[in-house]
């Protein structure tokens, strides 16, 4: 008798399957560290923020600002911008969204260790009325709107009083979330999955998004992630490794979308460690010896854009005619002129799990440098160890990938090119130890220059100086690729920042 009951129970459990309307299963590479949108400035946190929260404004596919919770904005004076907020928006908790929440959020951002650097420029936020705010900056800031894309208003009534941001340990905000976004977090298993349901009271009635349920699973290995899509376990994956794209394209019922991104991969040549690198001819020779086009073609299978400068063509600083140049003969001649005809030996480090095919790129580069007599002792490390070494400047040559937070060239220059200064944080990732005070002055000026024309000239001037000086070796701008089943219209919702607007994702039946 007992056995029969047990068998019956087992059968019931086996047959038990929830009937779900439209479920979208997504696999990406990492899940957010915390539910607190202000705890870590990382791609996965921002992807999550776009699901559960709404920004004041966001970038659309064409690189224009699209109003979200801010319906419009206007510049009042050189230091102030006024934002008009959307009415009739409610948080998950039912609290109504208003100006107090935005003020609260920006003030919280100013306390966040990760976002502080960006929001330091904001002096104060003033509530004009319940749906209007004025944002005052300390000095004129041409990039205020770019920064405001990082403001995802949080529910003040929900968080207030228990909103501390702690990098370790448990906080209220890291466990609980209340936003205005298209989805509501239903369940989260850290490190293995996250389940969200559609917000029934979502304010954006025009959104075509129709997934009732979203399940996000992080899958670390590129090939496993693709296998999950091909075997039908998930509907939408990103990123897709360039190696697998060709194969995935051949599979029917699978669609791929590729967009060029603004993330620049580059090499630093440490001038303090090696006197050879202080010679501009050597730096030029190295630039000439590296064949960016071949790397992009062979290793990244064409899913990147060879770079001769730091700014991508979306940025102001981009100069049309700065193309990567490959010429071994000239490189050899330059080496000879510099007195290093016999070459020399350098050490090089690169991560092996941070960027797409980073290790292979590094290997290819060391092979290319050997053509001009530079012997490279290459070490590749997992990212956890790599960035420790990076901070110590442990090798003569180091690889770095940089995505501009503000979608502007100056962010690149500030962190990668400016003279290292521990006090201001300028040049924090300048592993070249390259220092040109006049470039620093330009960078500072560009940070405040409100005239777009003059600002463009300033940024291009910096870009050209870097190029002429061969300060670093730009490699390529990585492309982003997403893949999904044919009935999932990802084409409309992806963008070059890799924050897919899943709230607007339409799934055909």
């Amino acid at each position: 008798m007992k056995i029969k009951v047990i068998i019956a129970c087992c059968l019931a459990l086996l047959l038990y399957n929830k009937a779900v309307a439209t479920t979208l299963k997504i696999a990406n590479d990492t899940d957010p560290v915390s539910l607190d949108p202000h705890e870590q400035l990382s791609e996965s946190t921002l992807q999550f923020s776009h699901l559960v929260f709404d920004p004041l404004l966001r970038w659309n596919k064409n690189g224009q600002f699209e109003p979200r919770l801010a319906t419009k904005w206007e510049r009042i004076d050189s230091h102030t911008v006024r934002f008009f907020l959307r009415k009739n928006v409610a948080f998950r908790t039912g609290n109504t969204f208003s100006a107090k929440d935005v003020v609260y959020t920006i003030e919280r951002l100013k306390k966040s260790p990760d976002f502080r650097a960006m929001f330091d420029t904001i002096d104060k936020v003033i509530m004009v009325d319940e749906y209007t705010i004025d944002v005052h900056t300390i000095y004129t800031n041409p990039l205020l709107l770019n920064i405001m894309t990082y403001v995802f208003p949080m529910d003040k009534a929900f968080y207030q009083g228990q909103d501390q941001i702690i990098k370790y340990g448990e906080t209220f905000a890291s466990r609980h979330v209340s936003g205005t976004g298209p989805y509501i977090l239903a369940e989260r298993k850290l490190g293995s999955s996250m389940e969200l349901t559609r917000n029934p009271n979502y304010w954006d009635k025009n959104s075509v998004g129709n997934a009732d349920k979203v399940i996000l699973t992080p899958i670390r290995a590129d090939s496993t992630r693709l296998a999950a899509l091909l075997s039908g376990d998930v509907d939408f994956i990103f990123p897709v490794s360039p190696i697998d794209i060709e194969r995935a394209k051949k599979v029917s019922g699978i669609q791929l979308v590729t967009l060029p991104s603004t993330r620049i991969l580059l090499l630093h040549m440490n001038q303090n460690r090696r006197k050879e690198f202080q010679d501009v001819r050597v730096r030029k020779a190295i630039n000439l010896a590296i064949n960016q086009a071949l790397i992009v073609d062979k290793i990244l299978k064409g899913y990147a854009t060879p770079a001769g400068q730091l700014s991508s063509d979306r940025f102001l600083g981009y100069i049309n005619d700065l193309e990567p140049e490959y010429n071994v003969d000239r490189a050899l001649k330059l080496m000879k002129e510099a007195g290093y005809e016999k070459g020399f030996r350098i050490s090089m480090m690169a991560p092996n799990n941070r960027y797409m095919s980073d290790e292979k790129v590094a290997q290819a580069i060391s092979a290319m440098l050997s053509r001009i007599g530079i012997t490279v002792d290459l070490k590749t490390l997992p990212k956890a160890q790599y960035f420790k070494e990076y901070d110590n400047r442990s090798a003569d040559m180091m690889m770095l990938g940089w995505q501009s937070d503000t979608m502007d060239s100056n962010n690149l220059f500030e962190f990668i090119i400016a003279c290292p200064d521990a006090n201001t944080g300028m040049g924090a990732y300048n592993a070249s130890e390259y220092c040109r005070p006049e470039i620093d002055a330009d960078i500072r000026q560009a940070n405040r220059e409100m005239n777009p024309e003059r600002r463009l000239r300033l940024l291009q001037q910096i870009e050209r100086k870097i190029y002429d000086d061969a300060a670093v070796v730009p490699l390529y701008w990585q492309s982003l690729t997403w893949a999904a089943k044919g009935n999932v219209n990802i084409n409309d919702i992806v963008n070059d920042q890799n924050y897919p607007h899943i709230g607007d994702l339409f799934i055909e039946e």
């Binding site: 650097a117 990098k167 890291s174 899958i219 296998a227 956890a384 960035f387 962190f415 521990a422």
Partner: protein, 326 residues
């Protein structure tokens, strides 16, 4: 019996102390946890500040003492990533790993025992020769190649079973997330447990065969034959029972190997168990989690070993338990 258990307990403590020292000493050596916690734009001072708060700048002994004090109270530190007590995080993943290991062992027992017995009683039979050849090949193909092939064939080409994760789980007793009781969970279990068992199978087939052949040579088996017993009774009662003794011992030792295999299998199949957690923790430099994992695995080994000895005692009446200790 009591003395045996007490001795075992003492040993376990000794072992755990050694393990805790080792696992603690690797903290801070795997990379900088602070680097992983903050964004790219955070200044060095702030990082140092954070490091001070975490106590990472104290001396080794100070840190160890703090760690040991906590460990006694079941506090193995707080995972940097999960922001929860490391022990809780690991215990939460334990059911997944145990279910995987359990299913793999079940498959191994169900298949390896008859195969091993067959190969032992009919060593010249074509089937046993084939079996031994297959087991030789199986022994020679590394588990990660097996796993890759399985994903490729069953998941991508044939689309029979899912290639990653655990699928739907049902909760029991409030803490045990089980995937054994629904179709989705079982289908997810298929490939990982199969590839894990394929890795273990050859070892056990060979072991059972060798031990069985050894036992079949023994006097008491010959005496059993001389008594005119049926072949079935001799093989499955007289011989198998004696065969299983060393198999159990080796099985206990294999527990360590099983842990290694689960790391590989879980990594390839994204099985959300302890091994996957461990590799994740290593790559995230979540040092409290790494050392907690080492301690938990060490503990599991000590427990299984004790159990193996106890079971050994049950199976083998000749063993006096007390003589087995230090």
């Amino acid at each position: 019996m009591l003395i045996f258990l007490l001795r075992r307990l003492l040993q376990a403590c000794f072992v755990m102390i050694i393990i805790s020292v080792i696992s603690f000493s690797i903290q801070d050596k795997l990379g900088d946890p602070v680097q992983q916690m903050v964004g790219m734009t955070v200044s060095p001072e702030e990082r140092n500040q954070l490091r001070n708060e975490l106590g990472l700048n104290d001396g080794f002994l100070v840190q160890y003492w703090r760690f040991a004090k906590g460990a006694v109270h079941g506090d193995l530190g707080t995972s940097y990533y999960y922001k929860e007590p490391a022990l809780d995080v690991i215990l939460e993943k334990l059911p997944a790993t145990l279910e995987l290991a359990f299913c793999a062992i079940l498959i191994v027992i169900l298949i390896a025992t008859p195969c091993g017995v067959l190969a032992a009683i009919k060593p010249k039979h074509i089937l046993s020769r084939l079996l031994m050849l297959i087991s030789s090949i199986g022994l020679s193909v590394p588990i990660f190649i097996v796993a890759i092939l399985m994903v490729y064939i069953f998941s991508i080409e044939l689309n029979i079973a899912p290639s990653f994760g655990r699928g739907q789980t049902t909760e029991f007793f409030g803490f045990w997330e089980s995937g054994l009781f629904n179709k989705d969970g079982l289908s997810h279990l298929l490939l990982p447990s199969l590839s894990l068992s394929i890795a273990l199978m050859p070892i056990f087939v060979r072991l059972i065969r060798a031990e069985m052949m050894d036992v079949l040579q023994s006097e008491y088996i010959r005496f059993a034959w001389s008594k005119g017993l049926s072949a079935r009774r001799i093989y499955f009662i007289h011989a198998l029972k004696n065969t299983m003794l060393p198999v159990i011992t080796v099985g206990g030792i294999q527990a360590g190997t099983l842990v290694a295999y689960t790391i590989l299998t879980e990594t390839i199949f994204q099985w959300p168990g302890m091994g996957f957690l461990f590799m994740d923790a290593v790559s995230r430099v979540d040092t409290p989690l790494v050392s907690a994992y080492l301690i938990v695995v060490g503990g599991i080994f000590v427990i299984t070993n004790t159990f193996v000895d106890l079971i050994y005692g049950l199976f083998n009446p000749t063993v006096r338990l007390a003589s087995h200790g230090l």
